[in-house]
Symmetry: C2
Subunit: 353 residues, 2 copies
DNA sequence: TTGAAAGCGCTAACAC
DNA sequence: GTGTTAGCGCTTTCAA
């Protein structure tokens, strides 16, 4: 392996001189020497040892990215966003995926041992116990949370506007003339309080209140954010709406997986979407435009979340002092496709009935 | 920050003693001292500095995971697999995603600077120019490729049996009684020769030959592995099969995205799957079971690919000598669902016609 | 403008 | 068994 020493020797200078040119310390070394050193580096195919540098600088230019549930597809765009920002500043990602809190604690230990300069934690929108993370704060270690709920604490956190998504999705349904609104909600009662279903539900409820529409208990199904859950939810909905109340004409399905499952179940029952029942959802994976019918949904800005988190973290690291804790809430974007139909569809349906 | 020195002081021993207990050098330190040291560590909340250790050990216990096209969903299970294996051995992942070869070259430089102990390269199944990777080989740096084609070189490489997937998928169609077989193939003519479409196509063709079925040119559509591509491919197929040859009764769609697009297009044309046309594909993302109809497909063992690559790499790193170059080919697994129907379906269809 | 030297935190001979 | 010490490759005072 070839080191700074070899370069110095070949260039006929001291090792500190080499270090100076390495660090772009222009004032400290004359152009002629500089050129000689550069040439020596090239000749020897010198590659600086970042570990040695980290050792003395006490900074590895590496951040720990800790992901709860790597199989969460949302993790891909987030990582993408984080990467894009870090790359510009020549920082690197140490990636650890964990499945539970114990794993997370463990990961923090390991990564601190590796001397990462900071952390980004990405998780489902859950209020996990987070003492181990707050400890980082006490120790002055930079970190940013994505999608985790820790409302009472003064931390830096970027998350999605789930309430707004529920609001706008439902408003879209109403704007199309629907008045009989149902919902397939996510796992509201969780070991640790999952927030996104609660908030999306709250958004839905708010619109019903705003337009003075009734919350029909039979039209409210609690499910679990999975494909199968969405499928089953429809079975349940159809089973319990054979009575006088009848079926809703539109459904807010709280995430895209359940929406896809719901689409399949409705199809099997011979119900047409959107003519018999309209569907709107939250979350816009690539296949959402190719479901049958194409899904109208509100897209989650996960890449932006990653970018934002990375930017906050980098500022923190480089300024060496904690920023004012800020909680950034990113809005969802409507992707109106076919699963809600048009106002006309809806009028026609009413005439027929 | 608290170091080995502090621990030594508090335990009233020399720093090497601390180092010994740190490294589990049981023979070198008495149980009493050992306990004292351990206690001191606990009291001081000591956390070993992995960077310092790496420096002297000349090993970071870190591997570089270089991904071409991070937005490739296959990357998630691969990373999962790699992670699982590395975690057991207490190795870590430095993740870099790149979009082109220049980025890859750059990533190698950076990661080498970071002193990673080895590399895993994950890419699309393309024969990229790979001189920069072969240079690693010359320098004796451990690396494993996933899904990249480099047939002529003596490298370690794990990939998917695309030929087998095409073979088995098509055989499945034939076993159901189909004789009029079409294909929507992937991007065969590429800047650098993408292999998986070629191989999957070859598998398809092989079966036709085996059963002496004709390759009808109008039933062969070249597309691009995207949702939209699959959608358009169906438009094209239907447009060019109005003549005497008629339509195929079954289609091998070379990847899952195109299959989903195809399903949508067929639906829009009022063609029923599988009654009017059967569809089989390759690639089994979570939503494949919830398309309409549920997709029969051959699942790609990406997680296993990640595990296998990680295992080979780790063995290499730890044995400190290059293994016999091996090219591991992993088979796909059939996931038979509804998009191909049953033999009976097919017989009925024939009777009707 | 350049070089010598003192570390950064840890490991591993080597000596006691 | 335990302590002393010489590095690992680099940065950064401090002198020259």
């Amino acid at each position: 392996v070839i080191t700074i020493k070899d370069v110095a020797e070949r260039a006929g200078v001291g090792i500190s001189t080499v270090s100076y040119v390495l660090n772009g310390n222009l004032k400290r070394v004359g152009p002629a020497t500089r050129e000689r050193v550069l040439e020596a580096m090239r000749d020897l195919n010198y590659r600086p040892n970042a570990v040695a540098r980290s050792m003395v600088k006490r900074s590895t230019k590496t951040i720990g990215l800790v992901i709860m549930e790597l199989d969460n597809p949302l993790f891909v765009p987030v990582t993408h966003g984080v990467e894009a920002i870090l790359r510009d500043e020549d920082y690197h990602i140490l990636l650890v995926s964990v499945v539970d809190l114990e794993g997370e604690v463990q990961a923090i230990e390991t990564l601190r041992s590796q001397q990462v300069d900071g952390f980004i934690f990405m998780s489902l929108s859950i209020r996990y116990p987070s003492d181990h993370i707050l400890r980082l704060k006490e120790e002055g270690i930079p970190f940013v949370l994505i999608n985790r709920y820790l409302e009472d604490s003064e931390v830096n956190l970027v998350r999605i506007d789930d309430f707004g998504a529920g609001l706008e999705a439902t408003r879209h349904l109403v704007s199309l003339g629907h008045t009989k609104l149902g919902i397939i909600s996510g796992p509201i009662y969780n070991k640790w309080d999952r927030r996104s279903p609660i908030q999306r539900y709250a958004g839905w409820e708010q619109i019903l209140k705003e337009y003075e529409l009734p919350v029909q208990p039979e039209w409210v199904i609690l499910s679990d954010y999975t494909f199968e859950g969405g499928y089953q939810a429809i079975q349940q909905l159809l089973a319990q709406t054979t009575g006088a109340v009848g079926r809703p004409t539109a459904l807010f399905v709280a995430n895209e997986s359940m929406a896809v499952g719901a689409l399949q179940a409705l199809h099997e029952h011979g119900l047409r979407v959107p003519q018999d029942i309209a569907i709107v959802s939250v979350g816009d994976p690539p296949f959402a435009a190719y479901t049958i019918p194409a899904l109208s949904t509100f897209s989650l800005p996960m890449e932006e979340a990653g970018q934002t988190a990375a930017r906050i973290l980098l500022d923190w690291i480089k300024s060496e002092k904690a920023p004012e804790p800020q909680q950034i809430v990113l809005p969802c974007t409507p992707r109106i496709r076919q699963s809600c139909g048009t106002k006309l569809n809806n009028l026609e349906r009413k005439l027929w009935i």
